[in-house]
């Protein structure tokens, strides 16, 4: 292991500290603003640290706005999208990684192109399509549209992941007379848990955070997911920063938990297909 000089160490730590403050300060400020008394939030110059706590913004959001309903809507949409997308993309990824058939290259390219489709390009035709099939303002319709982004991404990631699994194991199973389906469920899937976890996490986070489709496709408040709900809270008559930041904090929280505990899968997801394959 290389030895690092003290002066270098100081240089590295100060840079790291600087960028960490840059990264973390907004998070701190969001939480801090939401749990302070009103008076302190709007005093000038603002206080960087305050010991006085006041959770009335949270109470207000939870009792006077449909926040809890929107939270469940978001959870429902995100979980269902995750299950469907991970399942379909694992199947498609396996097919692209292992099977030989005509038109495979075309499909591979198609997936790659699908991945770069601008959301804004799809929003209008998807709206027309959803209305035509009576899926406008429905969670099922929204879940389908979330596949536009997540499916190509997960297929890309999982194909790369499956390619890293040595084929010897499968060949041994085939010699023993196992069917392809059996090989997929008993060998490929268990060995790909990190890749599947990464795909699932990505799909979940994307669905949870998505804004444009939810804004355009869901027009009733009872169906709204968190991002639209909070946006409408902002554009309403009261512009209450504490309420906005309190609901934002509650929206970010689940994702932060995922980041804290499942960090290694996120790294796997980000780098699959780039370092591997």
């Amino acid at each position: 292991m290389e030895k690092i000089k003290i002066s270098e160490k100081i240089f590295y730590y100060s840079l790291l500290t600087f960028f960490s403050i840059f990264a973390l300060f907004p998070l701190y400020w969001m939480v801090a603003t939401s749990i302070r008394p009103y008076i302190i939030v709007y005093q000038t110059p603002p206080l960087l640290f305050s010991r006085e706590l006041d959770f009335s913004a949270y109470k207000m959001v939870l009792t006077l706005t449909p926040f809890i309903k929107m939270f469940w809507n978001s959870l429902y949409v995100s979980v269902l999208t995750t299950i469907i997308c991970t399942l379909f993309s694992a199947m498609a990824g396996h097919s692209l990684a292992r099977m030989k058939f005509k038109g495979k290259k075309l499909i591979t390219r198609g997936v790659l192109i699908a991945y770069i489709f601008p959301q804004i390009l799809l929003v209008l035709p998807l709206y027309v399509l959803l209305v035509k099939f009576s899926l406008g303002n429905s969670h099922f319709g929204l879940i389908l549209t979330y596949m536009t982004f997540s499916f190509p991404f997960c297929v890309w990631m999982l194909t790369a992941y499956f390619l890293t699994i040595p084929e010897d194991l499968e060949e041994a199973a085939y010699i023993d007379g196992a069917s392809k389906f059996r090989v997929f469920t008993t060998i490929i899937l268990p060995l790909s848990k990190p890749g599947l976890a990464a795909a699932a996490i990505f799909t979940f986070i994307h669905a949870w955070n998505e804004f444009l489709y939810a804004l355009v496709f869901l027009n009733s408040d009872s169906k709204a997911t968190l991002s639209v709900g909070i946006y409408r809270l902002m554009s309403g008559e009261i512009f209450d920063w504490q309420a906005i930041l309190a609901s934002s904090t509650m929206m970010v929280f689940p994702i932060l938990i995922i980041y804290l505990f499942l960090q290694k899968y996120i790294v796997t997801g980000l780098t699959a297909g780039a370092t591997k394959g």
Binding site: T33, K100, L121, A160, N209, I255, V267
Partner: protein
């Protein structure tokens, strides 16, 4: 009979496994895109019924509009300044995170936090922080004697774009940090040992050992980020709405406004198609530049 079905399934599993995903994709991607191309040649309206084929009129209309060219320029400025800054911060942080320092796990965790935020929350939060009256950003800068008076960062045409870029850099640099770090960690230590024996200084080591090894992953992240930033709608829309005076008007926001505010669905389709064509050119260019092709992940 069942045996025959099983045999059939086993033989064609490759195709069968593709069917669910591909049919969804056809339904929600291929069909809509074809519809969109068609709509871009009509005068379809959001509210009024009935429409007719009008050829390239939508395209000629948007190309002659001032806001359109402003939006094109803004989109490029926003994308490239964001990507360059994100890359630089990502490279610096990744190089340091790759050193054997104590407490590195804490810093690594801290540095990826921004990427967890939903774009909507990012926009709202930074709007609060960059505000003129109560925004903490102004007070910090005034404390550091960088500015004398509070500045309305998002409310002034001269600063709004820079502010939007900073917000986007905050959000996006962690992806570069993590990606480049993964690339650095995959470099075999022998290569560094050889460089040391050859007497290379840190600059030569970086240029001849580190850089070639991380080029592929940097290339892929640059492509992905460029596409995403180019398409960014929510962040800028909530932050500034494209204003003030169109100073942050980007193509996605322009397209949204034309379609959902003015109801001109034909024109919004034309803008979206234009955006897509630029992206295809980008992607092609990058793939050539970094010698990345689909074989990399589609190979057997």
């Amino acid at each position: 009979m069942i045996r025959k079905i099983n045999q059939f399934v086993d033989k064609h599993l490759g195709i069968i496994f593709l069917i669910p995903g591909l049919s969804v994709i056809f339904f929600i991607l291929a069909y809509p895109v074809i519809t969109n191309i068609y709509i871009s040649f009509t005068n379809k309206h959001l509210i009024y019924q009935g429409f007719k084929f009008i050829g390239f009129e939508n395209y000629t209309t948007i190309f002659t509009e001032d806001i359109f060219s402003t939006a094109v320029i803004n989109t490029f400025v926003f994308t490239f300044s964001s990507i360059i800054l994100q890359f630089l911060i990502g490279l610096v942080t990744a190089l340091i995170l790759n050193k054997p320092l104590k407490g590195i796990i804490f810093f690594r965790l801290a540095l990826i936090i921004p990427y967890a935020f939903p774009p909507l929350v990012i926009a709202l939060l930074w709007k609060w922080m960059l505000g003129k009256l109560y925004g903490i950003f102004n007070f910090i800068l005034m404390d550091l004697n960088i500015i004398e008076q509070p500045v309305s960062w998002l409310g002034h045409p001269d600063t709004a774009m820079s502010a939007a870029v900073i917000v986007n850099v905050w959000f996006g640099f962690p992806l570069f940090t993590l990606g480049i770090l993964a690339g650095l960690q995959s470099i075999p230590t022998e290569q560094y040992e050889v460089a040391k024996i050859e007497g290379a200084n840190w600059y030569q080591t970086f240029w001849y050992v580190t850089l070639p090894n991380i080029l592929t992953i940097v290339g892929i992240i640059v492509i992905l980020r460029t596409i995403w930033v180019f398409n960014t709608f929510d962040l800028v829309y909530v932050l500034t709405g494209g204003g003030p005076l169109n100073s942050t008007m980007t193509l996605p926001i322009y397209s949204y406004n034309v379609g959902w505010r003015n109801g001109l669905l034909g024109e919004t389709a034309a803008v979206a198609i234009f955006l897509f064509i630029i992206l295809i050119i980008f992607t092609f260019f990058y793939f050539k530049l970094f010698k990345i092709n689909e074989d990399q992940y589609g190979k057997n």
